[in-house]
Symmetry: C2
Subunit: 285 residues, 2 copies
C-alpha cells in the first residue's frame, strides 16, 4: 500500500486542540480548524468544561469536523484502592462524554508511578486491571480505547506504558480474540526512537489495532521535557518513514497534529499555527 | 544467588569520576576516592588530558583502586566516511589508553543521529560496523567493550542504542559464538523504565555479558535532561530490585556510582559527595 498523498487532502488530517494551547473557547477553536480545511479534530476534556456536550457535538457535526479522538484518560495508577476507584469513575464519565461527542476513540494515558512508589511493575498491574474494566464500559458505549504509550522519559510521572510493544502485549492480554475495543495510538514523538518501532507497527496493523497517528517533531536540543515539541519538519523524526509503515499496516484514519510548545507555537496566533500545520502536513509528513 | 551486602563492603563499589564533576585533578580525585574506602574507580578520558598514563596507572594501583571501566568512546555516528574513520582512530587510541590503565572495560556511548540526519536506521548500521571494527582492536589489547544503551531521550544526540535488548542483539550479531570481548553496561538511570529490563538482564547474564552496573536515581521532576540525575534514594528507581536481577544473573563486578548533577552534587565538596555515596550505597542500593 502506498503512502496517501496529503496534498490538498487536509480532510485526511486532524488537529489536536492542545496544538493551539487551549487559549480560545472550543466553539471558536473548532470554527478555526474547520475553516482552515481540516477534516477532523481531537478535543480535550478541558475544552468541554462547563459545556453542554450535545450542543458542542452538534456544532462539530455542523462544521463538518469528525471527532477522531477524545483526550484523555485520568491516570489509572493510584496510591490506594480509593484512588483507583475514583479514577475508574472519572474515566467512565469521560467515555460517556466521548460517546456524546461521537468520537471514534478515547485516548488512554495511563499514569506513571503513584506518589511515593518505586514499584513500576505494580503500577503496570494496576493499569492492566483498569484498562480491562474500562474496556467493558467503552464497549457498551461503542467507543474504542486507544492506549497511547508515552516516551520513556515520562515513565515516572505520566505513563508507565512506554512502548508500542508493551501496549500491544496489553491489548492481546485483555483481548486475546483480536481487536474489539482496544487499540493503540502511535505518536511519533513518543516512539520514533524505538528500534522495534516498524515491526511493532506491522504487528499492530495485522490486528487492526492502530486507532491513531499523531505527528509533531523531536527538537535538538529539547529544552523542556513536556512542552518543547517541534512542528513537523523542524526536528529529527523520519515522519514519512513512520507514516509509510503505519499506512502499509492498513491505517486509513486521520493524521493528527499534536504539539505541546509553550514557548513557540503557543505564543503565536491560532490561524498562523493552523496554516503552518497545513503546510507542513503537505510538505514533510 | 542472593544480593551481596554492601554494608562495610565499599570495596565492592566504584566511583565514576563524573560524579565529582571533574573539578579536581585526577591525582587528587583518586586519592579522595581511595581514602573514602571505595574499591574501584571509573575515570574519564578528560581526566587524563596532559597526563602520563603509565604514571597515573601506577598511582591508581598504589592507591589500591581497581579501574573497573574507562569512559568513554567518541561517538561512532558521523556525517560521512571521513568522520567515521576519525572516530574509529580516536576510539582506537582510547582503547590503548584503557589498556595502559589496566581497565577492565572501555565504555561505548555510540552517538545519536549525525548532524542533519533523520536516518536512525542508518546511524544504527554505522554503529554496528564501528563496534565490529573496534572489537578487533579491543581484543588485541585484552580490553572488553561495554556497550551502554542510553535512555531513549538521548536517541537524537547521544545514543541511538537505547535499550538493553538492542545492545544484546548487537552483541550476538557481532559475537555469535558467545561472550568474548563485547558486553553491556547496565545503567539504572537509562533503563529503569524498560518493561523488558529484568528479562534482558537475565539474557545478558546467561551470556556473561554484564560488564558493569551503574547507579544513580531518577528525580521527579527532572529539571534537566542531561545534568539532573539524583543520588541513590532520592528518586523513583527500584535500585535493590535491579541490583538483585543483575546479581542473580551472575554479575560480581563493582557497583559504580555515576551521577551528573550540575546544580546539586557538583556544587558540593567532593568529600561530602563521596560520604553520601558511601552511605546511600549501603542503605538503599
Amino acid at each position: 500500500m502506498s503512502l496517501r498523498s496529503l496534498v490538498n487532502q487536509l480532510d485526511l488530517c486532524s488537529i489536536n486542540t492542545a496544538t493551539l494551547g487551549h487559549r480560545l473557547p472550543v466553539e471558536q477553536t473548532l470554527e478555526l480548524i474547520a475553516r482552515a480545511g481540516f477534516g477532523a479534530i481531537a478535543p480535550w476534556r478541558r475544552d468541554m468544561e462547563g459545556r453542554d456536550l450535545r450542543k458542542v457535538g452538534r456544532q462539530l457535526r455542523d462544521s463538518g469536523l469528525k471527532v477522531n479522538a477524545y483526550c484523555r484518560s485520568t491516570y489509572l495508577t493510584a496510591q490506594d484502592s480509593d484512588g483507583f476507584k475514583k479514577s475508574l469513575l472519572d474515566n467512565g464519565n469521560a467515555i460517556k462524554e466521548a460517546a456524546e461527542l461521537q468520537a471514534d476513540c478515547f485516548v488512554m494515558v495511563v499514569g506513571g508511578l503513584p506518589e511515593g512508589s518505586k514499584d513500576i511493575a505494580g503500577a503496570r498491574a494496576q493499569v492492566t486491571e483498569g484498562i480491562s474494566l474500562l474496556r467493558e464500559q467503552a464497549r457498551s458505549h461503542g467507543i474504542a480505547l486507544a492506549l497511547e504509550p508515552l516516551h520513556p522519559m515520562y515513565a515516572a510521572d505520566r505513563s508507565c506504558l512506554s512502548t508500542l510493544e508493551q501496549a500491544l502485549d496489553l491489548c492481546e492480554q485483555i483481548e486475546p480474540q483480536g481487536f474489539d475495543s482496544l487499540g493503540v495510538a502511535v505518536d511519533v514523538y513518543h516512539c520514533w526512537w524505538d528500534p522495534k518501532l516498524h515491526g511493532q507497527i506491522e504487528r499492530a496493523g495485522m490486528q487492526q489495532r492502530i486507532l491513531g497517528l499523531h505527528v509533531s517533531d523531536w527538537l535538538v536540543p529539547t529544552r523542556d521535557m513536556l512542552l518543547d515539541r517541534g512542528m513537523m519538519g523542524d526536528g529529527v523524526i523520519d515522519l514519512q518513514g513512520i507514516r509509510h509503515s503505519v499506512e502499509a499496516a492498513g491505517y486509513r484514519g486521520p493524521i493528527e497534529v499534536e504539539i505541546f510548545s509553550r514557548d513557540r507555537w503557543w505564543t503565536l496566533e491560532e490561524e498562523h499555527v493552523l496554516k503552518t500545520c497545513a503546510q507542513r502536513l503537505q510538505e514533510v509528513c
